[in-house]
Amino acid sequence: MIVLGISCYYHDGSAAIIRDGEIVAAAQEERFDREKYSPAFPIQAINFCLQQAGVTIYDVDEVAFYEKMYLKFERTIISHLIGWPFTFRNFLDTMPLWLKDRLAVSFAVEDELSFKKPVRYIKHHLSHAASAFLVSPFEEAAIMTVDGVGEYACATWGSGHGTRIDIRQEMHYPHSLGLLYSIFTAFLGFRVFTGEGKVMALAEFGEPDYLDKFRQIIDLRPDGSFRLDTRYFSFNKGETMHNKRFEELFGPPRPPGPDFTDRHYAIAASLQRMTEEIVLTMARHVHEQTGLNKLCLAGGVSLNVTANSRIREEGPFDDLFIQPAAGDAGAALGAASYVYHALSGRPRGPVMHSAALGPEYKDRAIEVLLRNSGARYRRLERDELLAETARRIADNQVVGWFQGRSEFGPRALGNRSILANPANPDMKDHLNRVVKHREPFRPFGASVLRERVGDYFEFDGDSPFMLLVARIRPDKLGSIPAVTHVNHTSRIQTVTPEHNGIYYDLIAEYYRQTGMPMVLNTSFNKKEPIVNTPDEALACFNDSGMDCLVMNQFLVERNDR
């Protein structure tokens, strides 16, 4: 049986295909149409998925779509996050608008894909839940989906047993974490959708001095649900979503730009702390209600690494699985696996140990490109390639690293990555200068050998998708400045030979040469979506100050040096 899953029309359109229980391919449309978070019907991602599976649409048994309730409405909210002219009642009256998107999907699937059978619509939170539970290592687990930043965002929780998923409770708009985060993202002068990660990074620089004020506007209940005190928000009219009373508490909004004061840091820190408290409270409630000891997480808030880590460390669960494509991209995968396993009653498939589900390119394609573009390159044997690459990272070179299949989800995990020396105190600034051009307050992550993670971090276990942070051991503080956050933690990816192949071997070689069991890992891109093809990698390399580029077995040098 073959099931094609699709998500689109909101943001981060994507496609995934499951054949005989196995996730054969999954990819976001942005990697193909090169528009960040492209919401378009993912026609290119679908073509890729089908071709990767060696089939055409005629072989597909079911098409599953993640259903995004109240879609139009959300768009309205988001576009009015700065000016918010609506009432909650009016919203309820206009609800059937979401039907339009359902129709658009049916139309696109039939018209663009020539798929004649009816589309299976899987509820949004169920798609998220399935994207985590059905591909997790757990036969039985509690499930939490806390929806993404800038979304309509119902948080849900429930439990999974085998291939069955029971959603026990939903928490609805407007009392949503995603929306709360977005209101403050806008208030702090960032763009909703893309600015949430920046707010999270900003939070590390402040103390949560505004926590009491947050408690004034948010009534957090023991089950993790909460009410926003609507007296602080201009739900009915006005240019902003907050009102005078809100500004009396938090001060004036920050204008966009590079300048921050302690107040901004403190508000971000308080928001982050509040977020963590909410998900932690919810996790405790879910544990109590389900009596289960494992937890599966998905939904955009699951990209909040600090919140995830607090659930892992302070929460009541023994073990945690987080879907790497936690946002709506992963919902395509979830919808497909829900149809495949839950609705069709087929047994669980292999565990999703790796996010490497995108396109890969053969040596031949890469060599044709390098040769025809006049690149200066060498083909190296594997051992030599690893030794040379490790040597260059140790030598403080910035290395483009392009191997195998691209990653599904927002993180580069060693297949489309830029690698650098984590011990170099200037590396962060250097990277931002030569390629990344990110705000200086945003930290870089580290990929560390799974068996050596305890050497540097107060951490034991797995973080295969870089969705957790770890506290740096006091005796190692200062030894990995390029990946150290202000609060002495690092965002880490644990790397194993089974699931990371040549990337593991590279870091192992780096460890052999330097005694450092990790490298700095950031996504292979500048501002655009992460590179997908060898052409894009070469173009990004040529267009930046990276020192060398490794694609499969080829080591590419700069032409201009």
């Binding site: 193909f32 089908l50 071709q51 055409t56 649409i57 020539s114 044709v368 040769r371 025809n372």
Partner: protein
């Protein structure tokens, strides 16, 4: 773009550093960096393409097929030479897209038995209906090309004839789609415009001199010959006749334009599924073209410095599907000169100097 003065000192025949086309003014010329204007034309087209324009996708192809699927006795007419590209196209149509094709193979008398045998094996294996059309109709035209010492290139003339025949058969059997095995190099680069017209109907710079010679030859030697008085002079006329006389609305498409990759993807498939293999002799290497190509290429290189295969390979290089070194090796004209003598004697003309 017009040729800069700096190009005048470049020796004719100097190869472009990026593709395999030679400096051959006024149509093809190299800039100071040794890159030809055709390469620059290509880059400009890529750079100025609308940002939201994507390449052709397999689902685009299926969309077209599904408009006609099951509405005719045959869903499409597949042109099959027995070579890798047309064999793979037929294989895709039948097995991957699950259509009912009618297959058409023509032979003007210069197609080697080996190629025909390959076509026969393929249609038998796939269990599809096949029309094999063998006629000496073109032989006089080919002889005329050699005897008049015209610079006309054989292949474009021949393609007018076989495309017309193909449309005629499509009309005869009421087939809505003609499927060719044309590669990505035989289009202007995966642009969506190929969907709106026959892809062979193109007049870019690199074909200009050849098209001019074709026009002259047509007017001087073909239209004046009673046997060929209705022969189309160009692809536009082919399309006109197809539409007016045959009442054919068939469109011409190749699956290769819609599926990523090239021969390295589909040759292993047809080898495995159909027992297909490369023929012992054909030009360029690893192709399955008729024997006239040996002659046509030698003449074209003599008259222009490059052949239609140089144009195709140059496209494939620009698209990143083949390296320049690979293309040069395939285009090497180091074949046995006895082949040429054989063709001349078949045509009943004395050999010409092809130095």
């Amino acid at each position: 773009m017009t040729m800069p003065a700096s190009a005048e000192s470049i020796p004719v025949g100097t190869l472009c550093r990026r593709c395999v086309l030679p400096h051959a003014p006024p149509d093809i010329w190299l800039d100071a960096e040794g890159i030809c204007n055709i390469c620059h034309n290509y880059d400009r087209e890529v750079a100025t393409a609308p940002k939201d324009e994507r390449g052709l996708l397999e689902t685009d192809f299926l969309k077209i097929l599904d408009k006609h699927r099951g509405k005719h006795e045959y869903d499409c007419l597949c042109m099959l030479s027995g070579g890798k590209d047309s064999t793979a196209a037929l294989y895709y149509v039948k097995e991957r897209y699950k259509l009912n094709p009618l297959v058409f193979t023509f032979n003007h008398g210069f197609v080697p038995d080996e190629h025909l045998e390959s076509a026969r094996r393929t249609v038998k294996k796939l269990g599809v209906d096949w029309i094999y059309f063998h006629t000496p109709f073109m032989k006089d035209m080919f002889r005329k090309i050699v005897q008049t010492k015209s610079k006309v290139v054989i292949c474009p003339v021949c393609s007018l004839w076989y495309m017309l025949k193909t449309y005629e058969i499509a009309a005869m059997f009421d087939v809505p789609i003609i499927v060719s095995g044309w590669t990505k190099g035989q289009t202007t680069g995966g642009s969506r415009s190929v969907l709106s017209k026959c892809a062979c109907d193109q007049n870019p710079d690199e074909f200009r001199a050849m098209s001019q010679a074709t026009r002259e030859f047509m007017d001087k030697h073909v239209r004046t010959d009673p046997k060929y008085k209705d022969f189309p002079r160009n692809m536009d006329e082919v399309l006109k006749i197809a539409k007016k006389k045959y009442k054919s609305k068939a469109i011409v498409l190749s699956p290769h334009w819609f599926v990523p990759g090239g021969p390295e993807e589909y040759v292993p498939i047809i080898k495995e599924k159909l027992g297909w293999d490369y023929p012992a002799r054909s030009y360029p290497k690893k192709s399955t073209n008729c024997d006239l190509n040996f002659l046509a290429t030698k003449r074209a290189i003599r008259d222009y410095g490059y052949s239609v295969y140089h144009i195709e390979m140059a496209n494939l290089i620009r698209m990143g599907l083949i390296t320049r070194e690979e293309a040069l090796a395939l285009l090497e004209t180091d074949f046995d000169p006895a082949i040429l003598d054989d063709i001349y004697s078949k045509l009943g003309t004395p050999s010409e100097s092809l130095a």
